[in-house]
């Protein structure tokens, strides 16, 4: 641990960042799955006026919040390698962003 006597540990920040990454990745994966697979789109259509969007976003938010809660409890007193957590989170966020981009979705589906 470093600076733990004068500054808070960085574990809570790592938990926050990684949970955003995972939530974003789930958002992208479900957006793609809802677009590509009619059965998934039907399952995600929890409120008909919005179509699958409500299910996609609700699931992503639940994953984000649950991950944040669990990781914060596990890591809040620890000091972690932020470069590693940041790299993994950035990769998940970028993947999530790409998976929501319609031309990339179409590319993956061979459209």
């Amino acid at each position: 641990m470093t600076n733990s006597d004068t500054h808070p540990t960085n574990g809570a920040a790592a938990a926050t960042l990684l949970s955003v990454g995972l939530g974003g990745l789930v958002l992208g994966i479900l957006a793609l799955a809802g677009d590509a697979l009619p059965a998934v789109a039907k399952a995600l259509n929890i409120w008909n006026p919005t179509g699958p969007l409500a299910g996609v976003t609700l699931a992503a938010i639940l994953v984000w919040l649950a991950t944040w809660l669990v990781l914060a409890r596990l890591w809040s007193a620890r000091t972690l390698n932020m470069s590693l957590v940041g790299g993994v989170s950035a990769a998940m966020i970028l993947a999530g962003l790409l998976l929501t981009f319609p031309p990339f979705m179409d590319l993956l589906q061979g459209k």
């Binding site: 600076n3 500054h7 808070p8 960085n10 809570a12 920040a13 790592a14 926050t16 960042l17 949970s19 955003v20 939530g23 974003g24 958002l27 992208g28 957006a31 409120w47 006026p49 919005t50 179509g51 969007l53 409500a54 996609v56 976003t57 992503a60 938010i61 984000w64 932020m82 470069s83 940041g86 950035a90 966020i93 999530g96 962003l97 929501t100 981009f101 319609p102 031309p103």
Partner: protein, 192 residues
């Protein structure tokens, strides 16, 4: 001077919440710089930290209001299906855009991306608000946490600006319109 109810709600969604949030990013960037830079001697007092927390939580609230109003109020009006054989599609923005190759990509790329991308904004800005609240006085020394806050703020800006741009363009080509008229001001018809 009149506006329809759906127009008014769309304005509140896009300009009331979305545009106000975009404006707030400049203040957030300045605040983060002041909190983080080693070249500024400023150490926030307890009152400063409360104000900063309020500012960043205010941004997160605006982001949540923008996406919730967009997804659950405006979007259902946007994607409503016209009755079979309908010729006038002005009350059905998605169908109107899809009816012409000159406008269909505004839906296929613009709305299809916007409806998902925008959710990165409240998620990342909630995280930023929480991190600023917890680490406000330590950001100068904690480089990893500082980079995390800046990165999430940039993500929040991207996920606000791109949907905002597409929202404005979609509303130019296929406005979400309808419902009762709201009279803002009475006027007189005239030639000039």
């Amino acid at each position: 001077m009149e506006i329809t109810f759906r127009d008014a709600v769309t304005v509140i969604h896009g300009m009331g919440f979305g545009a106000l949030l975009l404006l707030a990013f400049s203040g957030a960037a300045a605040a983060l710089y002041a909190l983080s830079s080693s070249s500024t001697p400023w150490r926030p007092s307890g009152r400063d930290v409360i104000l900063l927390r309020s500012y960043f939580w205010g941004m997160a609230l605006l982001a949540w209001l923008a996406v919730l109003a967009g997804a659950y109020v405006v979007y259902p009006w946007y994607r409503a299906h016209p009755p079979a054989g309908a010729v006038d599609l002005s009350g059905f923005p998605k169908a109107l855009l899809m009816s012409s190759p000159a406008t269909s990509e505004w839906h296929d790329i613009g709305m299809e991306w916007k409806e998902h991308l925008a959710w990165f904004s409240p998620i990342s800005l909630t995280a930023v608000a929480w991190l600023v609240g917890r680490y406000a006085t330590a950001l100068k020394e904690m480089k990893g946490v500082r980079n995390t806050v800046v990165g999430l703020l940039v993500l929040g800006f991207f996920a606000t600006a791109v949907p905002g741009f597409f929202g404005a363009m979609l509303n130019k080509y296929a406005p979400v319109r309808g419902g009762p008229n709201i009279v803002l001001m009475r006027g007189e018809a005239h030639d000039k």
